[in-house]
Subunit: 341 residues, 4 copies
């Protein structure tokens, strides 16, 4: 068999671990050949690829980023790929294509699959928002980085009687905020899934100060937004869904809290450190298993599918199911966490 | 409600996170009172306990160990506890007891429960070998510590053309060896679940050297043992199951490999660093959820049960099921990992 | 002897280690009594203090923040303190006061000392900009946190062919930027000590891309500023020294580079994570030594002095010398680092 | 100029950072050529070397180990090298050789230098025991790894009322034990520099237990040894210096303490994890500076010298001075640390 692999979309710790695992399983388990397309689908269309053997993937398991690169593709070119899917497969002589990517990539993969390319997808997102898989690799690393930051900020907040607002990634789903907030013991957690009342946050902080706990840490997802009319001072704009949104909710919330509380409130925007660098052990294991199972699925001819974690097992699910809806934080998880506002 | 909580058995990162979560949920969610028994079941029998409030659990989420202490209890005294279970509950005025512990503790908890104590168990083991729960807290931290060690050893092995044998915890189940071996990219993994042939390890290392990869890292669980007759030089003793066992398989295997290969092979025994210290974000979240659900189960009157992770949900399972058999590494997980010998 | 200790100014990893060390040395080495003033000089003026014994400092060595708290003091109140220095010492019955703090605190300490308070200072700043000491505790931790962030960002930058601009702390001295830039292998480093030419940065990035290294990481101190006229698009304001300054040089520089290069350039502002949380081993050792030597100096009657690291020794230097000028990055260190612009 | 570089002796975090820095400075600063000899002096004698350019050292700054490899050389072959030193330099056309290594390597370098090879040495040892330099790279990383282990072990010891004996590296000098013991807050530190009385350790632990602190952590250098007659049960052998020595002081001391105290005492032998893996920021900076200065010294023709840290400056010192005596922990540093026995 000849297998093509590519990585597309934003950075995510564990991409290299998948690539390595695909090459290991394909070569040592099946005697396959593997080629890697450069810069995502772009490499597939432009014919930029290179052979990948054991030496090529040596030492990359623990390395962040992707040795294959990743780049955005214009929508038009994606259609071009879909139209020539079967031909492309023939051109490169590949019996299977393993694209590793997020929602967009999986949607594109489904298109290619339906157009005749033998595709086995591997889901990737630090946001953990792909339905049909319990978890995605990269998420655990992002939560770990955010938790370490909250750990550090907490001691400063406590010593200096200060409110800290930590903005973590998560535009549409609040998983990183939820889990890093829980792990870091944040006193308030704000998620995209539920508009928050600033009044409630203010009350919580004031009660803490009254109890002698003269500090608070609030963990807010970048996609969180206040309930309508709830932000008095730091006004934002109304988006297409009628939600009041801010450029940089972390900065705005800190400004609002400082004004209302009459106490120092400092924002910290974690940003890209959450999506780069060496993956946690958890993510390396999950990524390695995904790569292994993708190769096995290819050999069983299960195309149009992607790998998924279900409980402790890695199984295959149709690409069609994967991308129909976002996996957001459900109410019971918010309830459990207690500090979600 | 008045809830008693205790921690028993060996150390495990996340114990304090469970205690904190029990107190938080019980007090702020239900207005309960919580008392903590000191040094496990010993405190329950000897009347050593203290009230736990929000201040008592402040700042312990990220701390290793257990603020309640833990100590071994003689078998006889455990029977004593079981015989007086109902009375003990009455004596302390507790409506629920939440013991946090491993296999032994859960077995004892089941005895107490059957004898009339209203018990909700929380499973704990860094070994991840309790059936009926997908994972236990503490395991992720142990794997992380072991993986970081393997990462460090690998560069030394490579630079100095050396074989490194890393012994990790896991007497009866090889989960830590499996996952840290996979995450660290160990070239050989030896588990208690499958006797390994030293010949195969020797062959693997020799092939690596022949290919120009002049080093190897082997990750061996403390409970792993060679196939009968497979260890030529470093002989061990035959245990009750007829297996050839060694005091310190890591040391023995390194000695054996050095002799057979004629190359330096160094053992590293990780030991107790795997079970202490601050828990990973994953373990903090899982421990917090377990504590929360234990309190909820108590309020629903679901006694004789313990918390369990199933997929992404925390559910309750009968204590009776939990401790019937050890959860060992199944064949398909060994197959996936490729480097299991 | 009766010793008072206080912490003032911004947070800095190692404060608790100093407090613990003062208490340990004073009590076990000399049989002294120790009291801790709360919230810096405020506690001294308002009579807020508590006795500190071995139990009070148990477990704080590795903890960030300060158990004594820290707060700003209005200038007027500081004068009040200076005027009543001798009286204050008598009022609390203290034979020595050990204030732990940065430039402002040391200046205040000098005033108190000259007014009759028996003071032994301990210098503290993550910025490493206090002259007369080779290094200050907190700096190593800040550099470590910044370096870990650069490590993480680098793989993302490389995989996604992107420029990353990391803003680290350092308003007047660029030590953190210099050392984290060197340790992280930043391709450009911008310091407050030397105005940088944006043209030079643009040229460096373009040459990298031309050589096939299609990414760059630039580490910029928050106090760095471009040479006059060098920032074409993202204009700033002229400050009192005639320098063109920006609110948030990281954001501005990224914007400017993106525009000039026509490539994605992302800013990451590390912020307060650099100054909180558990100190590195280096900082714990230095802080512990400073605390120990401050107590010894008090017993030798060396007042008006502060602890200082000189080579491998901790010595005492006059407070008067310490605060006369800022220790900035000298030319030879910039030259060595090569990537300073 | 044509510069040869090689790494010799045991592994040490920062070796790659020196190599990278030598190549960077030589090529971009001076337009030099650089070649790297493989496996230490062996490569020099056997003609195994490769050209090193910017690409060859790309991405190695943060990587443990050495890309050039390192191997032991038999004494006889070293003499061979010395006899042909000038010739070897001519043969490879090198104008300078930069060997990076420990005491043995520096002694060999001195021999080569005196025999006509233009040598600039870079000192390397995780043990920090080379005189004429304040610190060596690798040491900070070793201390950090050991400190993290002590941090983890401490919570277990406390929760389980246990004594933990941590054996760290340091055969002849106790710097790692001293600094990790201080940073980790070990209650007892045992160094090679001073024979310890087991009685004193026993007394310290018993006093702790009496005070209610029912645990202790003891940090012991691998080269530490008990005062004569002080170890009652776990007897050792008398070495050439008349000291009673044990194979594995950690194991022996734990056994002895367990017997004397009647309490659990567990040994943990950290071993090779201390000398591998990614270097700390401190070590990366120091290693980078050493590499830079070595190249500069070569260009100034300062041969027979090695780089050294003095205070905050990197200077050059004669190789002859460097290796005359070991830098051991002086009495005042033991006194400061308080817990040295």
């Amino acid at each position: 068999m000849r297998i093509g692999v590519l990585t597309a979309g934003g950075d995510c710790p564990g991409l290299n671990a998948v690539i390595r695992s695909v090459v290991h399983r394909a070569m040592t388990g099946h005697g396959d050949e593997v080629i890697g397309f450069e810069d995502g689908f772009k490499g597939l269309l432009d014919g930029h690829y290179r052979p990948l053997d054991l030496n090529a993937v040596s030492g990359i398991l623990a390395r962040g980023g992707t040795i294959l690169g990743s780049a955005r593709l214009e929508r038009g070119r994606l259609r071009e790929a879909a139209e020539n899917a079967a031909e492309l497969a023939k051109q490169y002589g590949i019996d299977a294509l393993i694209p590793i990517g997020g929602e967009g990539t999986l949607t594109a993969s489904r298109m290619l699959s339906e157009a005749g390319m033998p595709v086995v997808g591997v889901p990737k997102t630090i946001d953990n928002d792909i339905s049909s898989t319990d978890r995605t690799f990269g998420f655990d690393t992002a939560v770990m980085v955010a938790t370490e930051a909250i750990d550090r900020l907490k001691t400063t907040a406590e010593s200096h009687q200060r409110v800290m607002v930590v903005e973590v990634m998560g535009r549409h789903a609040g998983w990183i905020a939820l889990e890093s907030g829980m792990a870091g013991g944040a006193h308030g957690i704000c998620l995209p899934e539920r508009p928050f009342e600033v009044d409630d946050l203010v009350k919580m902080v004031e009660e803490r100060f009254a109890r002698g706990k003269k500090f608070a840490v609030i963990c807010v997802a970048e996609g969180a937004h206040p309930a309508e009319g709830s932000m008095e001072y730091a006004k934002g704009e109304i988006d297409q869904f009628g939600h009041e949104r801010f450029q940089g909710i972390g900065n705005r919330l800190a400004a609002e809290l400082e004004r209302r509380l009459g106490k120092e409130a400092k924002p910290v925007i974690l940003g890209h450190v959450q999506r780069g660098g060496t993956p946690t052990a958890y993510d390396r294991v999950l990524a390695t298993r995904f790569g292994w199972h993708a190769v096995e699925a290819a050999h069983r001819g299960e195309f149009g599918m992607m790998t998924a974690l279900r409980g402790t097992d890695v199984t295959m699910v149709p690409l069609a199911h994967a991308v129909t809806r976002l996996k957001t934080v459900p109410g019971n998880r918010m309830f459990e966490a207690e500090s979600v506002f």
